[in-house]
Symmetry: C3
Amino acid sequence: MTLTLILGGARSGKSRRAEALARETGLEGIYLATAEPMDADMAARIAKHREDRAAHGWTTVEEPLALAAALAGEARPGRMVLVECLTTWLTNLMVHGRDLEAATAEFLAWCAAPTGPAILVSNEVGFGIVPEHKMARDFRDHAGRLHQRVAEHAARVELVVAGIPMTVKG
Amino acid sequence: MTLTLILGGARSGKSRRAEALARETGLEGIYLATAEPMDADMAARIAKHREDRAAHGWTTVEEPLALAAALAGEARPGRMVLVECLTTWLTNLMVHGRDLEAATAEFLAWCAAPTGPAILVSNEVGFGIVPEHKMARDFRDHAGRLHQRVAEHAARVELVVAGIPMTVKG
Amino acid sequence: MTLTLILGGARSGKSRRAEALARETGLEGIYLATAEPMDADMAARIAKHREDRAAHGWTTVEEPLALAAALAGEARPGRMVLVECLTTWLTNLMVHGRDLEAATAEFLAWCAAPTGPAILVSNEVGFGIVPEHKMARDFRDHAGRLHQRVAEHAARVELVVAGIPMTVKG
């Protein structure tokens, strides 16, 4: 029931890398999408992505907030759940005013005893200068702490640079 | 006709690394500079850099926009072309309102069949939080996608950290 | 009298890594803190951290500006000085209008001939887009140049990602 954490910058190819890793396993693929459509245009793009993935054998599950519950429901031996992505989930929690400590504790409890193999994709956002706005500073602090804790449970951690995975752990 | 992609952050030493790599080959060095002087001060600094490089045997060619054409004209077996840098070139294309898809397609076509060895320097800009301004977001998306595609054609990709190259590929 | 440079992003676990490395040596630990309290709340948090470290056998020395002098005074064979962190020190120099060239030259002179082993922690801040404000641009340029020059003197350089050290040098 191994976990893999795939970190990368914007347009780094981290999602493509995660999908390739998932396919290599040959397991049934569940795509757990955390993005919430902000407008009709984004909803259309999300629907398009879902259809594209379906054509490649993926089942898409959408869950912007209750990530631990979704993982508990979907992850099981013989299936590969790909979560895309943790930073979007954190953003959703902040935008909806949810209790981040509680939500991340629940998620990390699942990571400590995963019910099935999973690949977790997330944006590495901590290598710039200190953001001006408090919400952005809080966000990158939360993301950094979350990545550290997920990495403790992960058998493999990669940092994707220009589409190429660098091994951080594993 | 190998390509090398040298990525790095601001003042990471990526240019120094690229110049050292080029010198190691012993080939005639062509420095393909994409920077455009914004004012007299910058023009003076660019001229100074050009003279410094000339003293070390480099020929400088300046081309802010038509990168593919400049590469096709300058790169040939037995010469090493050092492009400094791709993110500045992308910025120029955006500032001048050029068609980025067309320009990058033309450049990537050259990368797929390079006419001579080249070292391509670029800024890794995707590891911070999402920028506030749309132009900055578009820029880092373009840069990220470009890096992925150049890396596919590159025999070697490095990420320079504190002046030291980390091998990403090769 | 080896120097180690630990780079990392925000909340990357770089400090935890540095403390673990220091403890592994079994040497007497001196924690050289460069942070200046901005308000009572921050002063309270700093005092709390100092007490926590004291409970684990560390002596804390605070020096926001005269880093080279503090290192010359504290570092000696058989002791491990952990500097936390260089980017905060650079920020202090800028905020207080000090001569950065002189201060960094003095610090780098110490690094070239260290009086004892030290672990230097710093934020990697150069992997985002160009900051809007000149002070932020100057800051990241200073930090990038400083990291390059410290890395030349360091026997070991690490980049901490999600709490896990990647070897850059050594």
